[in-house]
């Protein structure tokens, strides 16, 4: 019975993860540790599997629906992977408690900024790098109208991805939330494209960590299997819902999740 409940929780996490470009770890880790009293190492390992499953499950639909910007994802992955390697190398020298606190407040501030911005702001002009690499694109809105978008402040976006990679390695958190924020706020991409592109990217770095955890034996199939099955189902449903859902609603849900994550981080920083 417990495992069936976990399956349903994973469906919800997969749905939310696919919709917002996040991994679902913010739901899976607390549920496993607080309700099932699963050891934190097994819970983190299962959450990595949830990120990989969300990413692969949703990416299949988003690529077909032209919501993922594949060229941009590949370009920004350079920043994320470089950041993650730097984060891994400096992790033993950094006191992470303060970082949790600092970035918790940063996310809370970002949530307020997003809340103030009610409408999508699409850039009218490409950054020269975006022009050179042909990073701009178009996506279908819910009413089947195609919306063209440009990509702005590419160096800032790349730097933010580097930062997201460093933070992800230092704090052990999925960096999807930072990726969506960077694409939305810095690069002025539509929220649906930011979310779908983040979804594509988070699975790539999580897969490397998940591989390390799998080889070490931290991924227990008895925990990871129901999580993965539920997440795959949820991510298929989330990807379908995102295509139909208005951008404004996705932004509102993202802000709520942003507040929850920021409070989780502040509490971690204080404890």
């Amino acid at each position: 019975m417990l495992e069936i409940l976990l399956l349903f929780t994973a469906v919800a996490a997969g749905f939310l993860g696919a919709l917002l470009g996040l991994g679902g770890g913010i739901i899976i880790v607390p549920v496993l540790t607080l309700f099932y009293h699963v050891n934190i190492r097994y819970a983190i390992a299962a959450s990595l599997i949830s990120i990989v499953a969300t990413s692969s499950g949703a990416a299949a639909s988003y690529l077909k629906d032209s919501l993922t910007n594949l060229r941009l994802a590949v370009f920004l992955e350079i920043g994320t992977v470089a950041g993650a390697i730097v984060g891994f190398l400096i992790s033993s020298y950094i006191q992470t408690k303060f970082l949790f606190f600092l970035f918790g407040f940063f996310l809370l501030f970002s949530a307020l900024m997003m809340l103030r911005r009610r409408e999508e702001y699409l850039g009218a002009k490409n950054h020269p790098w975006a022009e050179s690499l042909k990073l701009d694109g178009a996506y279908p809105e819910s009413n089947e109208r195609w919306v063209e978008y440009k990509v702005q402040q590419v160096p800032l976006g790349l730097f933010a991805m580097f930062g997201a990679g460093v933070l992800s390695a230092l704090l052990g958190i999925g960096s999807g939330i930072f990726k969506v924020l960077a694409m939305d706020e810095a690069m002025k991409l539509p929220i649906k494209v930011s979310s779908a592109t983040s979804n594509f990217m988070i699975g790539v770095t999580a897969a490397a960590s998940a591989g390390a955890y799998l080889l070490r034996g931290d991924i227990q199939p008895q925990i990871a299997a129901p999580v993965a099955v539920g997440i795959i189902l949820g991510s298929f449903l989330g990807a379908k819902a995102m295509v139909r859902m208005p951008a404004k609603r996705i932004r509102q849900i993202f802000v709520v999740v942003l507040v929850v994550v920021s409070l989780q981080m502040i509490v971690k920083g204080l404890s």
Binding site: A60, A84, S168, V204, A207, A228
Partner: protein, 120 residues
């Protein structure tokens, strides 16, 4: 090949891979559940056991449910790496060498971290 055709190819690969991994995990999980019931609460303590040890044990005990689940996890974890590699190859086909190079660089970094046990 247009960009959308490229995206469709990766999309088909992902969908097939995810469904295959999901089926293996579902069958493995239901089989394990039928054999042992709910075991989640028994994971409150961390007991280190490497993947090779777990697979050896499953082979000795002929635990096919566990083997199926590990196969599912293996497919799921390697999917994003295959996705990056395939993206690189498809960018080469598009003669977009800059993005192909970026994709291959990411792929190499991921494979290295995978085998060196670096958590990115």
């Amino acid at each position: 090949m247009s960009l959308h055709e490229l995206e469709l190819k990766i999309s088909h690969l992902l969908r097939a891979g995810v469904l295959f991994a999901g089926m293996l995990l579902l069958v493995g999980w239901l089989w394990m559940w039928a054999q042992g019931g709910d075991v989640l609460t028994s994971y409150s303590e961390y007991k280190p056991q490497s993947l090779s040890e777990s697979i050896q044990w499953a082979l000795i005990m002929n635990d096919r449910a566990l083997l199926l689940s590990f196969a599912g996890l293996g497919v799921l974890v390697t999917l994003p790496l295959v996705r990056v590699l395939m993206t690189g190859i498809l960018f080469v086909k598009q003669k977009d060498y800059r993005l192909a190079l970026m994709a291959f660089a990411v792929f190499m970094a991921l494979v290295a971290s995978f085998f060196l046990g670096i958590e990115l």
